[in-house]
């Protein structure tokens, strides 16, 4: 199969949806002429024109609100916010409007829109452009939270997101945009709430999201040589969360590591750890361990930022800790 990047895979999904459904349109800062901060919407303005690819002023609250209104009246907006950090400017729209309308109108209104954001440190972009607080959206009832880790998943999940009748927070990862992987040219969808076993194993389960999936997979081979087989489970969507697959894997291996790039404090990994502690504690052969960012703002200094980012070394160290329980 041909290989394209994560950014190209999302771009391709957007094109296919723009072509097949005239209700679909895009909004965001610099998504038109500039092609989006990470070039995810590159070329779309020329292809679909300024009526459907709309560059907005710098007002997250304004254009997210506009998209919510458009969605309620039958459109399918896909909105880009440059960095997850800027969603804070639109929090009222996201948390109080987008997530609540369907519920508060007794099901007689719906908001079928996609809000594209990205997380991840490692680009020297400092504390206001590098955060990974996607766990926040997992905390808000009424939102679907999607976290693709590969180009294949990114395209399939974007297609599902645009089809879905509910608001979707589509969380991309900056460091993944340039990674390549096999992606079918044709249109396909990946169901929400269905985890993907990225690597089967029997000794340790790593539930990993986003870039942590690849980082975890990179260390698996090394441990495999020692006879330790790690299973990597990628939930793909945090809301809805595929509890069954996670629990099934932990019941098999008895050991759980959760790797998510957000801060571990009240993070995605906290939620998944708690789930396992509540529903499968009697299967645990070891304490649950977490890999994530430290509880501090993302540093600007490149050496400090490197230490801050949970990487292969951190995964390795955590697996080594767990090895004592094997």
């Amino acid at each position: 199969m041909r290989e394209i990047t994560y950014a190209q895979a999302i771009n391709e999904a957007l094109i296919q949806n723009l072509e097949k459904d005239e209700r679909v349109f895009l909004m965001g800062e610099d998504i038109g002429r500039y092609g989006g901060i990470f070039q995810v919407t590159a070329g779309l303005l020329d292809k679909f024109g300024p009526e459907r690819i709309i560059d907005t002023p710098i007002s997250e609250s304004g254009f997210v609100g506009a998209a919510i209104g458009a969605a309620m009246t039958g459109m399918r907006p896909v909105v880009e916010i440059m960095f997850i950090d800027f969603t804070t400017c639109a929090m009222d729209m996201i948390v109080n409007q987008m997530a609540k309308i369907h519920y508060m109108f007794g099901g007689r209104g719906k908001v079928p829109m996609v809000l594209r954001i990205n997380i991840g440190a490692g680009r020297g972009a400092a504390a206001q452009h590098s955060q990974s607080f996607h766990a926040f959206f997992m905390h808000i009832p009424g939102l679907i939270v999607v976290t693709p880790s590969t180009p294949y998943d990114a395209k399939g999940l974007m297609n599902t997101a645009i089809l879905d009748e509910n608001p979707v927070i589509f969380v991309e990862h900056k460091k993944l945009y340039a990674t390549k992987g096999p992606v079918p040219e044709e249109y396909y969808t990946i169901p929400f709430g269905k985890a993907d076993i990225k690597r089967p194993g029997r000794d340790i389960t790593i539930v990993a999201t986003h870039a942590m999936v690849g980082r975890s997979l990179n260390v698996c081979e090394e441990f495999s040589k020692e006879g330790i087989e790690i299973e990597v489970v990628d939930p793909r969507t945090l809301q809805p969360l595929d509890k069954e697959s996670i629990l099934e894997s932990v019941k098999k291996t008895g050991r759980l590591i959760v790797a998510d790039e957000g801060p571990v404090t009240c993070g995605v990994s906290s939620e998944i750890s708690a789930l396992v502690a509540e529903e499968a504690i009697e299967y645990l052969q070891a304490p649950i361990l977490r890999v994530g960012s430290p509880y501090t703002p993302v540093p600007f200094s490149p050496p400090l930022e490197k230490i801050y980012i949970p990487d292969e070394e951190d995964v390795k160290e955590t697996v080594n800790k767990m090895k004592d329980y094997l």
Partner: protein, 348 residues
């Protein structure tokens, strides 16, 4: 509101992962007897598995770590030289407290007047509890069958006596008749691997090494240290190890591993006036050899009446995996070895 002192006492000192706790509960295993191999001694599920497989060898779980005792009690016991396994615990679940050790020091365990013991309830020591549980487990899970034969001891005794001076000179060791038994048994097991096996679920696991245990009787109970790979060791090494192990067994200084490694047991009552006896298998082993006293038997040699020294050997086997014919052949083969010591022990 309850005062804190009224809260039920919790046994916090046992650290085990949840999966190990679940397994122990399901299988009725006392976690306080299990040695943990995880970080900081935490008990892992595989330790339960290991315990189940090897608890057989731990006839007397003498290792102090496994005895429930407060750290103050432990320290005091060590200082006063009181073996903890002889102390009766009065704490929660029989935990030995400092007061118990003090009591034990003040009141040495001299069987006072006889009348004191009749009609009394005596709590079991840790060691007795382990023995009780293991013997019951063995008797009720492994169907035992028993075999006996008479072994002529004249040549073996003579062989030993001839070796004694040389051995003392060369190795400064006094070889015991038991050393010869250990070696001969180990060699015979090589021919009959199923006597070095154990039942594992629905499989028969033949253990890799032939480690022959020798039952050592002590006041508090029985303990079986084992000579590793006895089939491959020379007699001098066997004698050396046997004397060291028996010595330390009597002092309660054995390492758990020295007990756990046994794959076959020899139990001798040759020093008693006992003609023969049966034994309960030392789980999970499949065979145990018993040796009675040596008696004089009259026999005919041509037309002359002569006296032969004869000992009666017994073999108990786990009938789940050892059949009568195999057990009989084993005893027969062992007899041949012991009755022809030069063939058996020379050039080894």
């Amino acid at each position: 509101m309850m005062k804190e002192s009224e809260f039920p006492n919790r046994t916090v000192e046992i650290r085990a992962v949840p999966a190990a706790r679940r397994r122990a509960e399901r299988e009725g295993i006392d976690l306080s007897l299990v040695e943990g191999s995880g970080p900081g001694g935490i008990i892992l599920e595989k330790d339960i598995e290991h315990f189940r497989i090897t608890q057989g060898a731990v006839e007397g779980t003498l290792v102090t770590e496994k005895i429930h005792a407060s750290s103050l009690a432990r320290k005091l016991a060590e200082k006063r030289g009181v073996p903890l396994e002889t102390v009766e615990g009065t704490g929660t679940r029989g935990r030995i407290m400092m007061g118990d050790v003090i009591k034990a020091v003040e009141k040495p365990v001299v069987p006072s007047e006889e009348k004191a013991i009749f009609g009394q309830t005596i709590p079991m020591t840790q060691m007795r509890k382990v023995i009780a549980r293991r013997m019951a487990q063995s008797a009720f899970t492994a169907p035992h069958i028993y075999f006996f034969n008479d072994v002529e001891m004249d040549k073996l005794n003579q062989f030993r006596e001839e070796m004694l001076p040389d051995f003392e000179k060369q190795f400064n060791l006094r070889i015991s008749i038991n050393d010869l038994f250990i070696k001969a048994v180990a060699l015979t097991i090589r021919e009959f691997p199923v006597l070095n096996a154990m039942v594992k679920g629905e499989e028969i696991y033949v253990m890799p090494d032939i480690n022959v245990g020798l039952a050592v009787a002590m006041e508090e109970g029985l303990i079986v240290p084992a000579i590793p790979q006895a089939d491959q060791l020379g007699l001098e090494r066997i004698a050396q190890m046997r004397s060291d192990l028996v010595d330390r067994a009597k002092k309660g200084k054995l390492k758990l591993e020295e007990i756990e490694r046994g794959t076959f047991t020899i139990s001798s009552l040759a020093q008693y006036d006992i003609t023969f006896f049966t034994a309960i298998l030392n789980p999970p082993q499949s065979g145990i050899l018993t040796i009675g006293k040596t008696c004089d038997h009259l026999a005919l040699k041509g037309s002359q009446v002569i006296v032969k020294k004869v000992a009666r050997f017994g073999l108990s086997v786990d009938h789940r995996i050892v059949d009568g014919a195999v057990a009989a052949s084993f005893l027969q083969s062992l007899k041949n070895r012991l009755e022809n010591p030069t063939v058996t022990f020379v050039h080894l």
